[in-house]
Symmetry: C2
Subunit: 517 residues, 2 copies
């Protein structure tokens, strides 16, 4: 079908997307301007974070661009299978932790020992996910004026030519924005029914998991989904080959995050690995064997979750175009986003870590600039980061340990302060933290600012709580520009601010030789 | 009692504060260094936001300072009667709106038509509020090395001399940081039992309010407490003399905020006023008479809340020292925080609006600098701002209307976009918004960025949702320094970010003549 001439509201897009997904109709949706006779400067294969942003930028620079995507919507896996369900599940974890903490108190229901349906939450997501898809189609077509073909199986002819059915499209450049998918571990039993990853959980879950869940991995995905499973009331065992949450480098912040998970009943086995997943006669998981330093243990479960990172969606295309790839199929690129093949670029998750939205989008923009004749380089570095436990955990810059290795005079400001009472004190407080503050203050968060006492520059920041994630975006930009304790002390805080960095700095800033706090 | 020589943990402070408050013991708590023979550079009367931060800064600059406060804790009214209970109540409003929206769905209990106890929440606060007090005493004594006298009735002898019991203290300067208290409207019946303001609500509520609550006022306090009362399940009628929420100047943002409150069942009477509050034979409120453009109406209620702004705690001191004061008793100061009397400064809420933490604290710091011989000026301007409805509402800079008056080429980027579907679309999304996004997208927030299309500078930002408040602190600092759409487009977003400003700018930034979005 051709939609170029018609104005599509968000509602009309939503109807079309739902209908196409439900029916499995394979008719492509063409949105191409028949009156534009220019050759395409680029075809973007994949309209997710990297492809859509790259294409929008290329068009903003005055070029002509075509996006081709296999789904009937732009936006890619994020709203369909990745970031959006993850955030929904993490919101549920936060909400359930609160309800369990206040079980039978105030107006709260009794949730003690009650198990909450995972399948109902997954179904809620499946039924609700097309809304953001529709907004992105609307925004791309009506607001950004992009040309695209959706719901399309495309065939790569060569580095300048793509076919969709009988229609052939040519472009000066090809940009591969094909994304990634969860890694499947090479463990006996990994393909049994009941073994899920973040993608298959939302696409294939068709039963209610039992009371024990085994999570494989110790990184972001394993912890985020593990906390959700735990919050639903199930025994949740996390099996990590290495240290938990190695990306959170500040030891004190990591300890707080892990302590709070343990207090919610999460069980961790570090430096352990799954040796085997056993199935029943119907081919469904019934137990796992876990190899630990103390020998092998067996755990009965009907639900195993693999949170092991990602591999590139590059097999076919890499072969077809003879592209150089590395580990896990990630396509090799230089700082201009150029692959080993002339006029072929690659952007986003298909080029490897960090598997984050800003990196995908900025790689897309970088490719667009180079294609349009601007010389542009990009390499993700010095970026802020976050993950969810039952909390939001945000960080930027150096950990206290890293800072002390590099600087002679490191100062720390944190809440709660070091004290014989440990965490059982009434600060920090912030939005969505107030009920904890009043009844169980140790749960009200942890935050820490690392400062170079000589230059007075901020070196790092850490926050476990709620409501600081948006701010870490702006704070990171400032820190990279040399933000000092004196700059922070002069800002206007919105009290009660989830992060206390401004006010803590103000209490100290008058002193040229300030102490920790 | 003298505590200088002893090390007080947070726990020990908490015990002392609770005991003192409960017993009504009027013994002052002296924390004065007997070995320091220097004269005090300043005595701060009041150890709240303005006094404690001013004193800490003065000491950081090398001076000697004494804080005197009538309460057995530092930190002032904020954690005891003002910001902290307000945030607790607003958290409850957010939580209850979510639970009501999802009533009987997923794991949520049935809250339909159920009324939640206000008194239990007030009691929770009363029992929990001493935690932050204890942290501030600990921080002030052990970390900041401040000298203070708490739980003290002080007598002002002259501009340099204060007496506490038989002890007399002299200082080169006196800094008045005495705060403010809620205004009481001059309405017949305003002193009946059952008429509350933010202070008396937490100090005096001793019954469970009935099913109808009348709120007087249309500003921050009235709306914030009104939303809380509404969320508990009660009919809540807000009576405003003027337009609701006049401080939120962007008309579209204000409309969204008001629409969401109306959908929760809030009732508003604008351009109306209470003419009379009627009591029963026991002296308790039984109804109110409201004068509107269409005549007078009567509403039965046993609970009236006055959210009318503040007046200064200045009566006695202004008279004693013959200080110039203005409307509502606010002490007149110049940009150096000097009052009309030599060597007497005034800082914080006692000097008038904005009644915000950053302003109080920065006035305290400004006074400290001037006292210590640095010439410092301060006048609160161009600050970010926020309030709570059931949501967090944040803003900074110019509204769209203000921007169009001052600039020829104003661009707007917002979510959700203008569309025939209005608000019923699936974006924005962000932390704590995901359940709404999936089931009732119109409730998932509104956000707007105002840009000068010529200079590409950000002029204003508005956000209704959760999780952007902390970021507005840093964003405001950047906007004042000339932040552009191109700067934003180059930042690293933490996706899903509650505010979409970075990504929206990136989609447009390639175009020298970008359009609205």
């Amino acid at each position: 079908m051709d939609v170029w001439g018609d104005s599509y509201t968000i509602g009309k897009w939503q109807d079309l997307i739902v209908e196409t997904l439900e029916s499995g109709d394979s008719t492509p949706i063409f949105n191409i301007n028949p009156k534009d006779t220019r050759e395409f400067d680029a075809i973007f294969l994949g309209g997710g974070a990297a492809g859509r942003f790259g294409a929008a930028y290329l068009r903003a620079l005055g070029g002509r661009v075509l996006i081709i995507d296999r789904w009937p919507f732009l936006g890619g896996s994020c709203p369909h299978q990745a970031c959006v369900p993850h955030h929904l599940f993490s919101d549920c974890a936060a909400q359930l932790m609160l309800e369990r903490t206040f079980s039978s108190k105030l107006w709260f229901q009794n949730l003690e020992d009650k198990i909450v349906s995972i399948k109902n939450i997954v179904d809620l997501f499946r039924n609700g996910r097309t809304g953001p898809h529709a907004v992105m189609n609307y925004q791309s077509k009506e607001q950004l004026g992009l040309e695209f073909v959706l719901n399309a199986e495309s065939e790569i002819i060569d580095a300048n030519t793509v076919k969709i059915g009988k229609r052939k499209y040519q472009a000066k450049n090809l940009v591969l924005a094909l994304g990634a998918k969860p890694l499947v571990a090479d463990i006996p039993g990994a393909s049994l029914k009941g073994v899920f990853n973040s993608l298959t959980l939302v696409e294939k879950l068709d039963y209610e998991p039992g009371n024990t869940i085994v999570v494989i991995g110790g990184g972001k995905s394993a912890i985020e989904y593990g906390c959700f499973f735990n919050a639903t009331g199930r025994r949740t065992l996390v099996i990590a080959r290495h240290q938990l949450m190695p990306m959170l480098k500040d030891a004190e912040s990591r300890s707080y995050a892990i302590l709070m998970m343990e207090e919610q009943g999460m069980e961790f086995l570090e430096y352990a690995e799954i040796s085997n997943i056993q199935g029943d006669l119907q081919g469904k998981v019934k137990s796992v064997s876990i190899r630990t330093a103390d020998g092998t243990i067996n755990v009965d479960t009907d639900f195993v979750f693999m949170g092991l990172g990602e591999q590139a969606n590059s097999e076919m295309i890499a072969q077809k175009l003879a592209l150089e790839t590395g580990e896990k199929g990630f396509i090799k690129i230089n700082r201009h986003m150029q692959t080993s093949v002339h006029n072929v670029y690659a952007v986003g998750d298909v080029t490897g870590s960090p598997m984050e939205m800003f990196k995908a989008r900025k790689e897309g923009v970088c490719a667009a600039k180079n294609i349009m004749g601007q010389t542009s380089e990009y390499k993700a570095a010095d970026y802020p980061d976050f993950m969810h436990t039952h909390y939001e955990v945000c960080w930027l810059g150096l950990s206290e340990e890293e800072a002390r290795q590099r600087h002679a005079n490191v100062k720390v400001m944190k809440l709660p302060p070091d004290n014989p009472n440990g965490l059982d004190v009434g600060l920090p407080a912030g939005d969505r933290m107030m009920l904890y503050l009043m009844a169980k203050p140790r749960m009200s968060g942890f935050q820490k600012l690392i400062i170079d006492g000589d230059t007075r520059k901020i070196l790092g920041a850490f926050h476990i709580g709620y409501g600081a994630k948006d701010g870490f975006q702006y704070l990171n930009f400032l820190v990279k520009k040399g933000l000092t304790i004196d700059d922070l002390a002069d800002m206007d805080e919105l009290f009660i601010s989830p992060s206390y960095f401004i006010q803590l700095c103000r209490l100290r800033a008058g002193d040229p030789h300030f102490n920790n706090m």
